[in-house]
């Protein structure tokens, strides 16, 4: 699971990070075959821990089941998505659909008229339920 090395903090553009996370989470959650983003217990428990690194609520770099890392020069994004697949759906097919939908959603969220940044996505199935 390679990932880009570089700026992993949200300090430069927290709102952009928040937009990316929101777009990715919504797209993944709405993909057929996805039961939920990452089995809940761990995240529920971690939910007691504030995850802000400055810049207010929009600076969160984590959302349940989704993490986003940005690398500058050139700008590129890497997302890691953890999810549970519904029984009856083939896990591999669901991950492919999630990658496609999430990639589209994130590119749209980042669109500002300039060159589109590269977006890579790692999807991990943590449960079949």
């Amino acid at each position: 699971m390679s990932r880009p090395q570089g700026d992993q903090s949200p300090r430069h553009q927290p709102q952009q990070h928040a937009r990316v996370l929101k777009a990715a989470a919504e797209a993944a959650r709405e993909t057929p075959g996805v039961a939920f983003l990452r089995p809940g217990l761990g995240d529920l428990l971690r939910g007691a821990v504030p995850r802000r690194s400055g810049g207010g609520p929009a600076a969160d770099t984590r959302m349940t089941g989704v993490r986003a890392e940005r690398q500058d020069h050139p700008e590129r994004w890497h997302l890691r998505i953890h999810l549970a697949v519904r029984t009856g759906h083939r896990a591999l097919d669901v991950t492919r659909a999630v990658r496609a939908r999430t990639g589209t959603a994130v590119r749209e969220a980042l669109a500002d008229g300039g060159p589109a940044p590269a977006v890579s996505i790692t999807v991990t199935v943590t449960d079949i339920t």
């Binding site: 217990l41 428990l45 591999l92 991950t95 492919r96």
Partner: protein, 203 residues
């Protein structure tokens, strides 16, 4: 297995999540610990642990309703298996294994794959799956599956092993999307058929 740093976050009060759980689980730990009683971060973390307790409670009630009249031992076995499934998938997910091709950048935790394979094996009458390890035979795959199971006395062991292999291979290909190179089935116990509510033995 030690928790990775990322899996054992430190609360704003300075205590780790695991230490809070451990302290609260001690019979007199919470009562003797004023910090635990008063700290809003520790209290919040403990209240969220209630999710697991509710799951256990609901599962126990469902089993009792479904299996009224069945043997208590069998109820306990199923209950334990379900709780262990939860623990494996959520707290001890194990290593990640590749799905599909390298370009897919898709992965599955060993616990999730093992759960799928145990479920597939248990579709056979009288089969109770136990330990299931899924490991890479080479970097990038394919994988090897080692499953231990118990089954009714009416199963001829060679036929049982072959049927279980078929079930696992089918689950891996059709349900998961993973190429399995080798399946090692170990029958570790033969069960008395009486009292099981499934049809026993080969169909």
């Amino acid at each position: 297995m030690a928790l990775a740093e990322d899996d054992d976050p430190t609360l704003p009060c300075g205590r780790t999540l695991s230490s809070v759980w451990s302290r609260a689980e001690e019979d007199e730990g919470a009562a003797d610990d004023p910090h635990l009683a008063e700290c809003p971060y520790c209290r919040e973390a403990l209240s969220r642990l209630g999710v697991l307790h509710r799951y256990v409670s609901e599962t126990r009630q469902a089993d009792e309703a479904e299996s009224a009249g069945a043997h208590a031992e069998r109820i306990a076995e199923r209950f334990t298996a379900r709780v262990m499934d939860l623990v494996r998938t959520e707290l001890r997910p194990g290593r990640t294994l590749p799905l599909g091709e390298p370009d897919d950048d898709a992965w599955i935790t060993e616990a999730a794959a093992a759960k799928a394979f145990r479920t597939a094996a248990e579709r056979l009458p009288g089969v109770h799956a136990g330990s299931c390890r899924v490991t890479l035979t080479a970097p990038g795959g394919p994988v090897k599956v080692v499953m231990e199971l118990a089954a009714g006395l009416t199963w001829p062991v060679p036929e049982l092993a072959e049927r279980v292999r078929r079930q696992i291979r089918s689950a891996a290909g059709d349900g998961v999307g993973m190429y399995v190179a080798e399946i090692d089935v170990r029958v570790v116990d033969l069960l008395d058929d009486t009292g099981d509510d499934k049809e026993e033995g080969p169909a």
